[in-house]
Symmetry: C2
Subunit: 346 residues, 2 copies
């Protein structure tokens, strides 16, 4: 039942982000200079937690770099042996271990087609890094807990850094540098919530809803809940949720809403009202006191970050919630049954 490893890795995130920004900014500036103008859109190959980082990139690169992002379908490259023509694409692989053969396959094929490739990984000596023209290192140190936490937020930071460098935007770089401090503040503000997590001891399933930049956060929080607590947690965008899955919500149904302030605020206000009307149990991750005041369990993050950076902080309450719920359920949060740290899929 020890959670010391996972807990220390969650709390290491501010230092990891600082380290990444310190050690990678020069490298990523060079990568951006090399890549600029050589592609019209982006393809990202990733699995699990890294795929959730890729979801963040869809909004980040879309809104700030005007780039359309496609998530790769690796089985076309492996099982079907029919890879698409990647003309005009920059191809990025994200994997903390850099080992999953299907992700490596996508980069190798892109290289074969003469496309520029980039690996975002925690391991320099990995097949993924070796297959890529450029590498952004995560500098997360060895991640020992099976559930990824610090490699997730450092993947987001690596993508955010690339976005800033491609845009050559000094103000956004400065904002990015504020993230570690905001994370530290979040740890403090979240302390009171821990003692209320036992309320969810017998929760069997839940939904997690976010939109835009924090669509990624909804997916990653749901994945942590599944991995650590075995609770069936399904992520949605608020729009997709309204196109059907809302039917599953009845009185007492638990919904985690990821709602930092930003362009999505009105949409989230409407959603919270709708869920309230259905009698849902609301857990709200937000920097907006009004959103938080409606929640059965408020999970505050500090205000003041621009929306595009909130995913780096908004995932923390979800990580801590999942860890605490694992403790309440008597599970080993460092080594969930049936999972391994490196998953190789084809």
């Amino acid at each position: 039942m020890s959670t010391s490893i996972l807990e220390s890795e969650i709390h290491a995130q501010p230092d990891v982000i600082s380290e990444l920004l310190h050690k990678e900014t020069e490298n990523v500036n060079k990568i951006a200079d090399d890549l600029r103008g050589r592609f019209k859109y982006v393809v990202i190959a990733a699995r699990g937690t890294s795929d959730n980082a890729a979801r963040y990139a869809q909004y980040l690169f879309g809104a700030h770099n005007r780039l359309q992002v496609a998530l790769a379908t690796p089985s076309l490259f492996t099982l079907y042996e029919c890879p698409p023509d990647l003309s005009e694409a920059l191809v990025i692989g994200i994997s903390q271990s850099g080992q999953s053969p299907d992700i490596v396959s996508v980069l190798s094929e892109a290289h074969r087609q003469g496309r520029p490739t980039l690996a975002i990984t925690n391991l320099q000596q990995s097949p993924l890094a070796e297959a890529a023209d450029h590498v952004i290192m995560l500098h997360a140190g060895l991640e020992k807990a099976v559930a990824a936490t610090k490699t997730y937020t450092s993947s987001l930071a690596g993508l955010a850094l690339l976005s800033c460098c491609l845009e050559n935007n000094a103000q956004r770089m400065k904002d990015l540098e504020r993230v570690p401090q905001a994370m530290q503040r979040a740890f403090l503000d979240l302390e009171p919530a821990a003692s209320h997590v036992e309320r969810y001891r017998y929760m069997a399933h839940c939904n997690v809803i976010g939109r835009g930049y924090n669509y990624s956060t909804a997916f990653e929080v749901a994945l942590k809940v599944k991995e650590l607590t075995r609770v069936v947690a399904e992520p949605y965008s608020s729009a997709d949720f309204r196109h059907g899955p809302v039917a599953t919500v009845s009185r007492g149904f638990p919904v985690i809403v990821v709602a930092p302030q930003g362009a999505i605020t009105q949409d989230m206000i409407d959603l919270i009202a709708q869920l309230k009307g259905l009698g849902a149990e609301l857990l709200v991750i937000s920097d907006d006191p009004q959103h938080l005041s409606i929640a059965n369990l408020p999970l505050p993050i500090p205000p003041g970050l621009p929306e595009w950076l909130t995913p780096l902080v908004a995932v923390i309450p979800g990580q801590l919630f999942a860890m605490q719920l694992a403790i309440e359920k008597g599970f080993n949060a460092d080594q969930p049954e049936g999972l391994t740290k490196v998953t190789e899929t084809f």
Copy 2:
């Protein structure tokens, strides 16, 4: 508790597909001639059931037309007002009603950027059809049940027809014409399963797993189960499933595996063995007698279709299962509580 409308719409699918192929082939050939060579990749905007059709297109266009497909993130076009640069893209919108403002926004912006656009819809007089250069009509007739069935398979057929026409492949066209008959055969073969659905009367959640072409089927079956029965049903690819969510599966946990024969066969054999080892309750949709023999509830589809066409038939057992489970639970399958036929999201 009447299900007459939904049931008749499910059974109308073979005729709808025949009608679509009969009435649209000439049109789609012309569309293909106009589009060929004018784009390097495809962006598809869709929500709900139509988004699942878009997932099919990722594998269909990838494997047969060597096209990379990106699923659009509509909020970039609406809430964020920062649409990406769509250079080199063909932009497709899929919506049976053609009404959802966010999907229309993506096509309008693509048009503004001078990109070719295509609508796949059941309503000629809709904002989506009006915003597009080209239209493929679904010919599904009015769909009255809230849960989409015949507009889903006709969307798949419209995409399949486009893929064949772009490739100018007569053999694939002939295979596509065999689909209505295979659907009819599936209805007959599935009759014995209906009486066993009561076994799942108290199922609270389940997973639905598919891969490759039938990744779409997993998503669509999960959506039907959610809409019609309020059961939390989460879809996965077998690869993503192994990267974490497998942790939620314990003895008796129900998993619907979508496993028609094809390039994914070995992967599905491994998955079924893994799930069996965990003591999962297995519902298997397949044309492979060996896969079916292992299942707690076998859901057979007829053998003989090439893998790329199996999604049009493999969804039928899922539609019928969800409808029957709604009946067992005493729900109105034609009009699930809390849902409307046309959902407008921004």
